[in-house]
Structure formats: C-alpha cells, structure tokens
C-alpha cells in the first residue's frame, strides 16, 4: 500500500523530466529563440555578461548560455579538441586560444566564417591579433580580445642603473642593470607554456621563426631552432639562468610568481602580461602591497634582442570560433558579430582587464582611464608575433619546455638539441 503513491510520484517526476528534455530539444523548432552554447574560458564574468546582452539584443533570435572551460589554456584545448573530434553538436561558439587554432582548423573541426562577416568584424583589428585568428592565410575565427606582454619596470631601479626607458631597451641592458643593482629580473622559468612564449618572443624579435615550411604536415615543416636567432635566444635565457638573475625560485616561476617577486624589494624589470597592473592595483587596495610600489611601476614595449631592431612581443588572447558540427551556425556567427563589436570589446577590457583586439576600442575614454598604458598595449599588439602556427603546436611547445628548462642549464647547444628532440617527437620516434 505505502509503496504505490511513492512509485506514482516517481513516475510523475520521470515523465516531467523526459517531457522537459524533449521540449528543450524542440524549443528552437517552434519558433522560440535558438539555444546557443558558448564555451568560455574562465574570466571575471565578462563573457557571461556579453552573452546576456547579445541575447537580449537579438530580439528573440537566439539565446546564448555559457559553459565554462578549465582554467588553463592547455586543458581548454584538451576539452575542446575531444568534443570537436567526437562531433559534439553543441559547439556553437568557442573561446579559443590562438596557438591551438591551427590544430582545430586543419582537420576541419571549425566552421568557415562568412566572408562578409570577416570584413565587418576585422576592419580595424590590430595586426598581431589578426595574425593569431588565421590559418593558412584565411580567417578561421573572429578576434575577440588580444593580449601582449610588456616590459614593466621599477622606475627607481631603472633610474639608479642609469637606463633611459623613454627609448627601447635591450635584453642585455636590463640584465646588466638588474645585476648592477643587485635585483632580480622577472621572467618565467617554469617548465610550462610561458617558456615557449618567452623563447618564441626572443627568436621572433631576433628576426627568426621557430616553425618554417609547410606547417600543416610533419613531412613539410621544419623546426628552425638551431639558427643564429636560436643561439641568441639561448644566450639570453641561459645568461639569466647562469648569472642567477631570475632569483632563487626561477625554475618554478610562472607569471604570478614573477609578479610577486616584482612587487617585492628585489623587483627590477619584468616581462609579463598587462593583468599584473590591475592585479597590483587591487593588491594595493587590499593593503597587501604599498601604494609606493604601484607608483614606482613603469612600462614600455618588450625588450629588443638586437639594439635598434624592433622587438616582436608575445601574443595571446582569445578568438571566437564556431564548431563545424554546430546545428546553428548562422545564429552563432550573428552572435559573434554582436559580441566582438568595438564597444563590447572596450566594455570587456574595462570590466575584465583583457585588452581589445580592435584598435577603435582604445579610443574609449573608459579604457584610457582604466589602462594608463593603453597606447603601449596598442603599439605592442601591432608589433606582436604569434607563436608557431601549426597543428603540431602542442608537440613543438612541449618540446621547447622540456629542453629549455631549467634555464641555468641552457647553453649554446640547447637550440640544436631542442630542434632534434622536437623533430624526433614529430616523427613518432620519441615520447615527449
């Protein structure tokens, strides 16, 4: 007797659940808004806000819900690649880190953007950001925001070392300056993605390129580390390691650890992403960092490798792509157009601290107020060079991380060893 009402209730719940599921699946067919899923990287809530704004602005054409990806870029790539390879039809909009775009574009996992949409959304995109959104010379994603590294410095240290920061400085100059002042240089020596960012920035700044040839196939591409530019990069990385300029924690130092060191008494010069400025400002407000530290921070573009040759700073950011198996590609592209307007990019930059890919966004007074270094960022984004664009980026990057750390062991043989190792991994002869 007692079991019956219980069972009936259970059945009712089951029917309701199945009904809701079926109705959700059919919603778009009965003329309601199309449900779009946007896979976002974690941020301060800016993408969810833009999703809401654009859903409201679409007049019922679509409704974007966000789905959170893992914290670090490598894990985001893992999840996206697995879903795309499995033919997931919910991959309507994806926030993609530029280095992983060729890997997803090459096997046809990404839908091709309509050319008129590209014309409209990329007319004022900064050069570096535009390069990061392409594969084989064609846009496969739409630039959303772009990141670049700057050279931050403590004005007091630069002054004491007699370095004129109004002009571009070189790596050798800041290394000598830090050493003469008995301070640490802020670089990222951890065995991680930041190592590739650094090595690639050095080689690009010296005029070289890590991957050459037909980057789409293992047989066609060549790794070009054992070169003049590669040796120069090894000289800088190994020099910082050997002279102990990175501080005692260099072998496990990432961007945040470098920032913490830079804020301390031993801070001097640091290459890092612009987020460190807003993070330091927040730390001042919290009381963990003194106001005088924030006032002492200056910035300029990434250091030069050769005096007089403009540097090619590292490029990061997020571009928006649409999955090839998405059921609502047309609406997804409409949504992307809405998300990436210069106004929305400016709003996102102010609220979340991520620099806009659109040049026009930097004219926004709110951006200029929040980012005193906006002009340096804009210049840097125009100079920036993307990391190697190849479907085998992960192998290239992991190979560099493996062979260029710890940095005190980097020497003139490192580029050749690194090149050989990466090629043998690519040919399936070695494990990473």
């Amino acid at each position: 007797m007692t079991a019956k009402p219980h069972r009936r209730a259970l059945r009712a719940v089951a029917v309701a659940a199945v009904g809701a599921f079926v109705m959700a699946g059919c919603a778009s067919d009965d003329g309601g808004p199309v449900q779009l899923t946007w896979y976002i990287n974690p941020d301060a809530g800016g993408q969810a806000e833009l999703a809401k704004q654009c859903s409201d602005a679409s007049n019922g054409a679509y409704n974007i819900s966000t789905s959170l990806l893992p914290r670090d870029a490598a894990s985001q790539r893992e999840q996206l690649a697995r879903r795309l390879a499995a033919g997931d039809t919910t991959m309507d909009i994806m926030s993609l880190d530029p280095p992983f775009i060729p890997e997803l574009a090459e096997p046809g996992f990404l839908a091709t953007p309509p050319s008129d949409l590209i014309d409209r959304t990329t007319s004022d995109t900064l050069e570096g950001a535009a390069a990061g959104a392409q594969w084989n010379g064609e846009y496969v994603t739409v630039p959303f925001w772009a990141n670049t590294q700057l050279l931050f410095y403590r004005k007091s240290v630069a002054e004491a070392a007699g370095l004129d920061m109004s002009k571009p400085v070189t790596w050798d100059e800041i290394m000598d300056a830090a050493e003469s002042q008995d301070k640490y240089l802020g670089v990222q020596g951890i065995q991680g993605e930041s190592m590739t960012v650094w090595v690639n920035g050095l080689i690009e700044s010296a005029g070289g390129s890590i991957v050459e040839g037909d980057a789409a196939s293992v047989d066609g591409l060549s790794i070009n580390l054992d070169s003049e530019e590669g040796k120069k990069a090894a000289e800088i990385v190994g020099g910082i390691g050997e002279r102990g300029l990175g501080g005692p924690g260099i072998s496990s130092q990432d961007e945040n650890a470098a920032m913490a060191q830079f804020q301390g008494d031993k801070g001097s010069f640091m290459v890092n992403w612009p987020f460190i400025y807003s993070a330091t400002a927040a730390a001042v407000e919290e009381g963990s960092v003194d106001q005088s530290v924030l006032d002492d921070i200056g910035w300029t573009t990434w250091p030069e490798v050769d005096k007089g040759t403009e540097s090619a700073p590292p490029l990061g950011g997020i571009n928006l792509g649409v999955g090839a198996d998405s059921q609502h590609q047309e609406e997804a592209w409409d949504a992307i157009e809405c998300i990436t307007t210069p106004e929305n990019q400016a709003q996102y930059m102010v609220s979340n601290g991520n620099p806009a890919a659109s040049s026009a966004a930097y004219d926004d007074p709110a951006v200029r107020e929040a980012f005193p270094m906006y002009q340096t960022i804009r210049d840097s984004l125009d100079m920036a060079a993307p990391r190697p664009q190849t479907p085998y980026y992960n192998e290239v990057s992991s190979g560099i991380q493996e062979t260029w750390t710890p940095i005190n062991e980097v020497n003139e043989n490192t580029p050749a060893e690194s090149e050989e190792f990466i090629m043998s991994v690519l040919n399936g002869e070695s494990l990473l």
Binding site: E106, Q191, S251, N394, P406
Partner: protein, 316 residues
C-alpha cells in the same frame, strides 16, 4: 577445534592432489554466487576500455588527424619501450613505489601498535587522529603540501632554515630530487593510515595466548615481536604491501599538482595521461597505458606467486 573438524580429503587437498570435498565445493559455489554479480559488472565496465585500449595501441592515431589513422601493429610498443623517457619514468615510478611502501610499512606498523595498545578511553581519539590524512582528498592534500613547500608561499623554508641546504632561497620544486622528496613525503603522510589500518586488523588476529605463553617462557619484547607477532600477521602485512604497491605504482595526483612531471618527476601514469590526453596521440598513449597495466598485473602476479600472498586470507 578447527583441526578436529578438518576431513582427511581436505588435508590431501592442501597437497594439491585429491579432489575437493563436498564442503569446499559448496563453499566455492556460494562464493561465486555472492561475488559473481559484482565480478560480472566489474568485467563489463573494465573489459570494454581495456579491449579498446589494446586495439587502439596497434594504430598510429591522432585525435585531431582522424584521416591519417593507420595500422602499425606493435610499432607503438617498440617506440615506447626503447625510449629514454619511458625508462626514466619507469625508474621514477619504481623508486617512488619502493621508498613509499617501505617507509609506510615501518611507520604504519608503529602506528598500528600505538592504536592497538593505547588505553581504551583514548583509543577512539587516537584512531581518528591517525586516520585524518587518509580521509583527505589527494588533490587537496597535494595542494596543501605544494603551498607549504613553495618558495613563494611556503613556510617550510622558514621553519626548517636551521637545517643544512634548506633556507629562504631553497626551491624545492626547482630540481628533481627535492621535488621527489616532497612528493614522496606527501604520499607517505597521506597513505600510512591505510597501511596501519590493515596492519591493525592483522595485529588483532595475533592470538593473545601465544604472546602470553612466550612471555611466560621468558621471551623479551623483541623476541615476541619477531617470533610470534610478525609471523602470525604475515598475511596481513603482505596484503597491505601488495595493495599499497599497486596503488603507489599508479601515482598521479600528487605529481600532477606539484610538478606536472617537470625536472624528471614524471611517472608512468602521467606519461600515459600526457600522451593520450594532452598530446591526443591515442595510439601511442594507449600503448603506454597497456604497458602500465601489464606492470601492475606483474606486480600482483609476483606478489601472489613468489611471496605467496593469499588474498582470500584466513584459510592458510
């Protein structure tokens, strides 16, 4: 009592010659009926991925290049087995397994003795205190150890600065050997309670009268430990060692969180993960996984056959 009920046929059975007695056969049947359904479910859940991994390991197959999939037979195994990275990772895995299990066994035994002998009113508190680390999620404990030893946020360098080598500038995660010390220490801290719990069960099985008889005969504490206690709980010790060794051989979380395998701290599980999940090399990664699986089977086999561990216990 038990010896008087033993039938002649079972005694011959122990020598492996005579047929099973009705009772043994009935017991076996009951055992299958009780454990069978669970065994079947386990087989269904595990067989599919195992067979799939075996199949995939014969192909050169990258998830992001599905069209280039090709059959290479045992090529992946050859690549893995002849690679210095694999050999290094195997060495690290064996080192971690041997060191942690040995230390855990000694510590775990000491803790089991404490738990066994502590006066009744404190027994609950002591047991709970000892078991706390085992109740903590491995990833959480890995983060706790990482932050304790990290050069920027850690307090260990501060507290132990009076020891040689250790000082404010010592980077525990800056090179392999010191990273491994932290990894193994955290592993030991986390799983010693598990071993001590198994040993405590073994300790409880040691007949009190044997110990008392030895005491009456004038045996000292050490003699009783070596001649009575340890031999009586051999089965429990071996079960603890085998379980922990199989567990330690598959170590992943601690390393993933603390070093992610940098500076030669990578183990076989991490290599399998990095190859199939990070590199998306399904073929090569499956080969690493299969090799790892075979290693684990080997450990279990060696333990069962060479050391004669009887997991069914009690009957020996």
């Amino acid at each position: 009592m038990s010896t008087t009920t033993q039938s002649p046929s079972t005694r011959r059975d122990a020598q492996g010659k005579a047929p099973l007695s009705d009772r043994t056969r009935a017991e076996r049947r009951l055992g299958w009926m009780l454990a069978g359904p669970a065994f079947l479910v386990m087989l269904l859940v595990t067989m599919y991925p195992i067979v799939q991994a075996l199949w995939d390991s014969l192909f050169s197959y990258r998830l992001t290049a599905p069209d280039d999939r090709s059959f290479v037979f045992l090529q992946n195994y050859w690549t893995v087995l002849t690679d210095p990275v694999f050999l290094r990772d195997l060495g690290v895995t064996v080192l971690i397994t041997v060191v942690t299990v040995a230390v855990e066994l000694v510590l775990g035994f000491a803790l089991a003795l404490v738990m066994n002998n502590v006066i009744k009113s404190f027994r609950g508190v002591v047991r709970t205190a000892i078991l706390v680390p085992y109740g903590i999620i491995t990833v959480v404990s890995a983060f706790a150890w990482f932050y304790a030893f990290d050069i920027n946020t850690g307090y260990v360098n501060n507290w132990f600065g009076w020891l040689p080598i250790i000082g404010p500038d010592f980077n525990w995660f800056g090179q392999g050997w010191s990273s491994l010390i932290v990894i193994m220490a955290s592993e030991i801290w986390k799983t010693t309670p598990f071993i001590s719990l198994l040993l405590l069960a073994g300790l409880a099985q040691v007949p009190g009268e044997l110990n008392e008889a030895a005491k009456v005969d004038g045996a000292g504490w050490w003699q009783r430990m070596y001649k009575v206690t340890l031999p009586s709980m051999k089965a429990a010790i071996m079960v603890a060692v085998v379980f922990r060794a199989l567990d330690a051989f598959r170590i992943f979380d601690n390393i993933f969180i603390m070093t992610n395998g940098q500076y030669g701290t990578e183990t076989l599980s991490l290599l399998a993960y990095r190859t199939s999940i990070t590199r998306l090399e399904i073929g090569l990664g499956s080969a690493v996984s299969v090799i790892l699986f075979i290693c684990v089977l080997l450990i279990a086999f060696v333990a069962m056959k060479v050391f004669k561990v009887d997991l069914a216990g009690g009957k020996g």
